[in-house]
Symmetry: D2
C-alpha cells in the first residue's frame, strides 16, 4: 500500500525558505509534548514569548500565532483593517502585491504604489501619496519581497508613515533575523515575521510585534474577527501563564521556537547578520563576475538573505534548476508568479548563511549553465567570491 519514495533529497538546499533547520532546533522539536494547560507548559510559553520580545527588541509582549506567516498576515489584515480604513499598499513584488488583495476584503479604499518587481519603493513616492491623500490610515509594505530578492527602505518609509499618523504594517518574514531590522527601527505598528527563514526554524508559526497603537485600532474595529483563525485578539494575552489558550497551540513548534531564539541570541544577532551579509556579498560578487545578472536593478537593493539571479536568455528555468540539483546536488528556489521563470533564487538564510555556500552556489550554478550550453566563467565567479570572503574574514 505504502508507496516507495523515488526522489532522493538534494545534497544541499539553498532555498529562499523553508530552509534547512539548525540541528539544535530539530532536536528541540523532538522534546516531549506537554499538556498545554499544565503549569509547566504555561510557564514555558510565557518564557518563550519573553525571549521573542527580546529578539524583536520591543518592550511590549510579542504575539505568536499558530500558523505559517501567510495566514498570519491574512489574520493581521483581517484584524487591523476595517471598513473605515484607507489603505496604502506598497507593491514592489509578488508578496507586496498580494497583500493588497487581502486588504481589499476589509478596507474602505485601497491605494497602491506599484513599481516593477526588480525595483524598490521610493520614500518620495510615499511622501507624495500622503500629500495627496490625508485620509490614509494604514500603510502596508514588505521589507524583503522574497520572490524578487529585493529590499524596500522601510526605515525611511516608516518615518513618513508615522509622521502622517497612519499605521504601518510590515512583512519582514524573510529579512528579520538575517538583517538588522526590528519593529522600532521602522516605526512598524504591526511587524510580522517567522522562525522558518533567517532563523533556521521550521515553518508553522508566525511571530508578530503588535504595538499599543495597533491594538487600539483593532479594538475599535468592530468587524475584527474573534474565536477565529483570523483573530489576533484571541491570542493577545495567551502568552500569560495564567491565561488560557484560545485553541491548542502547536507545542512542538513552540519547543522549536524556544531553541530558534536561544540560538539567535546566543550567537549574537550582530554576528548572525554579518554572516548573512558576507555570504550574500560574496555570492553577488561571484554571480556578476561569472557573467550573470542580478535580478535587482541595483545591487544596493539586493537582500542579504536571498540572491535573485536573472535567468539568461535561452536558458529554461526548470532545466537549469534540475541540472543543478541532479548533477551537482544543489537545490535552488525558482521565482514565484510574475517572477517565475525569470529568475532563480539562491537562499542565504540560517544554516547556509556561511561564506562557503556562496562558493557552492556559484560552482553549481556555473556548472549547470555551462552544461546547458550557456557559457559562463565559473572560475572568475569563484575568484571574485573568494576575494570577497577573504576580505571580510580579514576585516
Amino acid at each position: 500500500m505504502k508507496k516507495k519514495q523515488t526522489q532522493t533529497e538534494p545534497a544541499i538546499t539553498l532555498s529562499a525558505g523553508p530552509v534547512g533547520v539548525y540541528p539544535r532546533v530539530l532536536r528541540a522539536m523532538a522534546t516531549p509534548v506537554q499538556y498545554d494547560f499544565d503549569p509547566y507548559f504555561q510557564e514555558f510559553y510565557e518564557n518563550v514569548n519573553d525571549k521573542v520580545s527580546e529578539a524583536l527588541r520591543i518592550d511590549y509582549p510579542a504575539l505568536i500565532m499558530h500558523c505559517e506567516p501567510a495566514p498570519g498576515i491574512e489574520a493581521a489584515a483581517a484584524s487591523l483593517i476595517s471598513k473605515q480604513d484607507v489603505v496604502l499598499n506598497l507593491a514592489s513584488g509578488v508578496y507586496g502585491k498580494g497583500f493588497g488583495y487581502w486588504s481589499a476584503r476589509y478596507n474602505k479604499e485601497l491605494l497602491e504604489i506599484e513599481v516593477p518587481y526588480n525595483e524598490s519603493i521610493s520614500p518620495d513616492q510615499v511622501d507624495s501619496m500622503f500629500a495627496k491623500r490625508k485620509d490614509i490610515s494604514v500603510v502596508s509594505v514588505v521589507h524583503h519581497d522574497t520572490p524578487s530578492g529585493t529590499i524596500n527602505p522601510i526605515e525611511e518609509i516608516g518615518k513618513i508613515v508615522r509622521d502622517n499618523n497612519a499605521l504601518l504594517l510590515v512583512d519582514a518574514v524573510s529579512s528579520w533575523g538575517g538583517m538588522n531590522i526590528h519593529p522600532n527601527d521602522c516605526c512598524a505598528d504591526i511587524f510580522i515575521t517567522g522562525p522558518s527563514k533567517c532563523l533556521g526554524g521550521a515553518p508553522g508559526l508566525t511571530i508578530m510585534a503588535v504595538n499599543e497603537r495597533a491594538w487600539q485600532h483593532i479594538d475599535n474595529n468592530k468587524d475584527a474577527p474573534f474565536a477565529s483563525a483570523l483573530s489576533l485578539s484571541d491570542w493577545r494575552n495567551a502568552w500569560r501563564h495564567d491565561q488560557p489558550f484560545p485553541f491548542t497551540p502547536s507545542v512542538a513548534e513552540m519547543n522549536g521556537l524556544n531553541a530558534v531564539i536561544d540560538n539567535y541570541l546566543e550567537e549574537g544577532p550582530e554576528n548572525v547578520w554579518a554572516r548573512h551579509r558576507t555570504t550574500a556579498s560574496a555570492c553577488r560578487a561571484g554571480i556578476r563576475a561569472m557573467g550573470c545578472d542580478l535580478w535587482a536593478v541595483d545591487e544596493s537593493i539586493a537582500a542579504d538573505t536571498t540572491t535573485a539571479v536573472r535567468i539568461p536568455d535561452g536558458v529554461e528555468d526548470e532545466s537549469l534548476r534540475m541540472t543543478a540539483r541532479n548533477i551537482f546536488g544543489v537545490a535552488f528556489s525558482s521565482g514565484r508568479n510574475e517572477t517565475l521563470g525569470k529568475l532563480l533564487r539562491i537562499g542565504h538564510m540560517g544554516l547556509v548563511a556561511q561564506p562557503i555556500y556562496a562558493l557552492i552556489a556559484i560552482t553549481a550554478l556555473g556548472g549547470a549553465l555551462n552544461h546547458l550550453g550557456h557559457n559562463v566563467d565559473t572560475a572568475a565567479g569563484i575568484d571574485a567570491a573568494t576575494k570577497a570572503i577573504v576580505k571580510d574574514a580579514s576585516a
Copy 2:
C-alpha cells in the same frame, strides 16, 4: 534576561489532549526540513496523504490542513455552510455547542438539539427534527465531546442524515484512532480529526475526509473562502506532487504525521482500539469501585479515550488536580467551560492507552481524594481495575 523555569514537568500526564507523543513520532519531527517545492518533499507529501486516506479508510484523497483542529473545524464551517443552508447542530457538550456559533456566522438558519452535557443525542431526536424540517441541508455533530468524555451514536445519526439527503459534518478529533470509527461508518461528508489525540502526535495539523458531495456543496457556495486560512478549497489538490501549496505547509508536522500514521497502521488499528478500550474499561471499573461517579449518565456513552469523573461534593477541582500532580506526579485534565469544576478527565489516548495507566490513574486520584479528606476506597478501585485488566488479558 532569560527567566528560569520554576515549574517542573509532571512525572506522568493523563490528559485529554494534547497527549504525550510517541517517541518515534518525536524523532520523526526532528527530520531535516526540506524545501516545500523540492520534488523530494512534494512526493513525500503525496505519500503521506495517501497513507492518511488509508488510515481513514476512504477511497478519495484525504485533506490535510496546516492548523490545529479548532481552526480546521472553523474552516470547514466557513467553506461548507452558505447563506442558503439550514443547519442542524447537535449539542451534547461544550464542543458541539461551540460549533453552532461558527455555523451561525454563515448559515441561513441554525436549528439545534441540545441535551444535558452528560447525556448524548438520541437518533430519535434527529429523526423527529427532520420530520419537522425538510429543509435542513447540513447537520453537525461531535463524536466524542471531549469536555464531557461522552460519545454520540453517530452511525445511527449519520444514516438518518444521509436518508434525508443532508450533509453531515462530524468532529471526531478525540475518538478517531482510538475507537472504531471512520467517515464511511457514519456517512460523514466532512469528517474532521487530527494526529494529536489518540494517535499520539503533536498538535498542529487537521486531518479531514471531504467527500465529493461536500466538495460540490463547497463549490456551489459562492462565499466559500479562498486564498485564506479558512479555505478548504485552497488545499484540495495540494496533496498532488505536481501541484503547488497555497502557502508553506508545516514541514516538521508532516514528518511527524508520517510517523503517526505508520505507527498506527503497523500496530494495527484493531489492536490500537483494543488497548484504548481495555484501559478505559478498567479505569471506569476502578473509578466506580472506589466510590466515585462517572460523569456520563450511563457508562455506555462513556468514551474509550477519556474517562470523565464527577468531582465529589466538597472537593475543589483545582486542589484535586494539583494534589494529584504535586504529590503523585500525575497530571489530569480539568473540564472546560460548562464542565469546568464539575468533572476531572483521565485521558486514555496514544501512549497511555495501556492498562497500567488505568491503575496509575486510580492510585493517584484515590490518593489525592483521600489526602484532601474525601475518603474513597482506592484498594477496591485497584482490585476492580486489576480484575478487568486480567480478564481482557486472558480473553
Copy 3:
C-alpha cells in the same frame, strides 16, 4: 531478509539498569557528530570532563573511559594492581565477588572477606583483616552490589583503608548520582561509576575519579597496560583540548554525557537523591505491607536505587516477571548469577525515581503474584506506600 520484530516494548521499565534515558539526554545523543580532532570537539570534551569533575566533587580531573563500566573496572584492575600488591576484596554480592577474579590476574595475593549476599561488609571485619595483614596494599569494594540491591558502609571502610595506608577502589556504578556518595566521602583512590544508572544516561561510558595516589601506583606498575583498551594511562590527559585521543572517543556518548551531567547539576544533586530515597522508601514500605520480604536482611542496607524483593516460595521467577510484563506492562529485573531466581529487582533510577513508580511497582507486582495464585495484600501495599509518599511530600 529483514526479520520483523515480534516482541513489543513493555509500557514501563523498572530495571536495575540500563534504565530509561532522560528525553533531554536522548536528544543530546542526536547532536551532529563532530570530528574528534577538530578544535570545537576538543574544547567540548574538556568542558564535559570539567563538569564531570564537578559532579564527582573532586578537584582533580575526572577520567572518562570509552566503554561500559564492566570493562572500565577491568581496566582499573589491570592498571592499578601489580604483582607486588596484596589485595583485599570485599565481597557482599555477585559484583564484589567478580572483582576478585579480575584482581587475581594481576595481584600477588588475593584476600577476601565474603558475607552472604543479602548482608553487607562490616567495618570491623576490615579492621580485623588489617590487624592481621599489614601488607594489604589495595582494597576493593562495591558500594551498591546491584544483583543484591544492598549497600556497603564505604565511608567507614574507606577511613580504615586510608588509615592503613592502602589504596581503595570503589565501584559505585549503580549508586552514584542516586545517593549522596562521592570519591572524597569514602576516601576512594579510584572511584568508578557511569552515566547509565541513576543519571539516566545510555550505557557506553565509564566515569572514574583517579586521584594522585592512584596514578602514582599505576605509574609504578610496570605491567600497567598502555596502548590498550585496558589502559587508564592512555586516557589520563586526553581530556585536555590540546592533547590527542589515544583512539576515537565515542562522540555521541559524550554528547549524551554532557546532557546527563547538566541535567543532574541543574536539578540539584540533593533533589535527585531525595526523590530516589522517597521512591525507594515508599516502595519498601509497600512491599513489606503487602506481605513480601525484602532480600536485604535489614532494611537499613537496602539501596535507595534498587529494591530487591525475595521471590516467595512456590513462585517461579521467570513466570513472575513475564506475568508483570505481559499483563501489566511493567518490566522488572531478575537477579544475576547466585541471586538469579531468588529475588526480583525494582529499579529506582533516573527517570523512574519518582514516587508514582513505587505505586506502579507494587500494583504490578501484587497483581502478578495474585494472578499466579500467591495471594498478597496489594491494597495494604498501596496504602503503606501512599502514606510514605504523602509523608515525604509534607516534609
Copy 4:
C-alpha cells in the same frame, strides 16, 4: 563553573573519520533505551546482527564488539594470536605498522613487510615471504591505511594467504561500505570494520566477521582472553536472543547501527560505492589540475574514501588546515604520526560522499593555499572536477 564554548563548529567537515552522521542515524540514536535483558531488546539485537551479516555478505553470524575499532582490533589480536603463531604483518602505513606492536605482545615471532607510506604492498612480496617462511600462521593487513589514504590489493593478498593455509586478519575500517570489499572477497578470516566511517554512523562499535577457521584458532589459543574487554569469545553467541550479554551492550549505539545498516542496504551498496568513487575521482582530478600532488605514488592506489594531498613545500600543515577552516569553514583531516605534517586528507565518506563536496574541497583548499601565498589554479581544479562529475552523471 560551566565554561563557555569559545570554538564554533566548522560549516562543513570533510574528515577521514569520525565523519558526519546521517540524520536518520542521529535520530535513531535518540530512540528510548531499552533494558538489555528484556525480550524486546534481545530480539532487536539479533535482528540487527542478522542485518550486519547481510551487509557483510557472510553466511555466518557477524560479531559486534562494544568499543571503537582500535580496541576492537587489539581484542582481535589478543584473541587470535598465540605464542605458537608466526605473524606476517604488512605495513604500508601508520595503522598497518601499529598492528605489529599489538601482535608482538602475543605472537611467537613477528615478520613484517614494510613499504614507504605512500606505496602499497605488492602480492609478490607476500608470495616471496611465504616461499621463505612456511611457518607463517597469521597475516595481518590494512585495506585502506587511512593516515595515507592508500589501498592494499587485499583480494590478491588474501588468495595467497589462503593458499598457504595461514589466517588473514583484515582491517577494513575505513573502506568497507564505501568500496566494494567484503570478507569473502579477500579470504579474510577476521575482517574488522565499523559504522563510523563510510557508513556515516557514530564511533563506538566494532563490526567483525570471524569465520569458523578463526574461531577454531581462537578456541585453541589457551591464552585467549575471557571475561575481558579483549575477548572476542565472550561475545560470540551474545547476538542470540536467548543468550546473555557478557556485559551491558551500548544500547544507543545499537539503535544507531540498526539505522546505519538499513540506510546502506536501502540505498543499495552499489549506489553507495558509486558515489564514493565519483566523489573521489572528481576530487583527485581537481587536486591534480590545480597543481597539487596526491600523496599516493600512483593514483591507482588512492582510496575512494579519502584523498590524501601532499602539502606543498613552504606551506605549514596546521596553518593550511586552520585557514581552510577559519576563512572557508571547511575542516580537513591532518596526517597521523609519520604522515603528520606531510599530507592533508579530504574525507569522502558517508554523507559527504557526494560530488558537490569534491568541489567544496577544491574551492576551500585552493582558497586557503592561495591565501597563504602558495599559488594554485583553483579554477583549473574546479573545471577538471566538474568535468569528472558531469561525465559520471552522464554515464
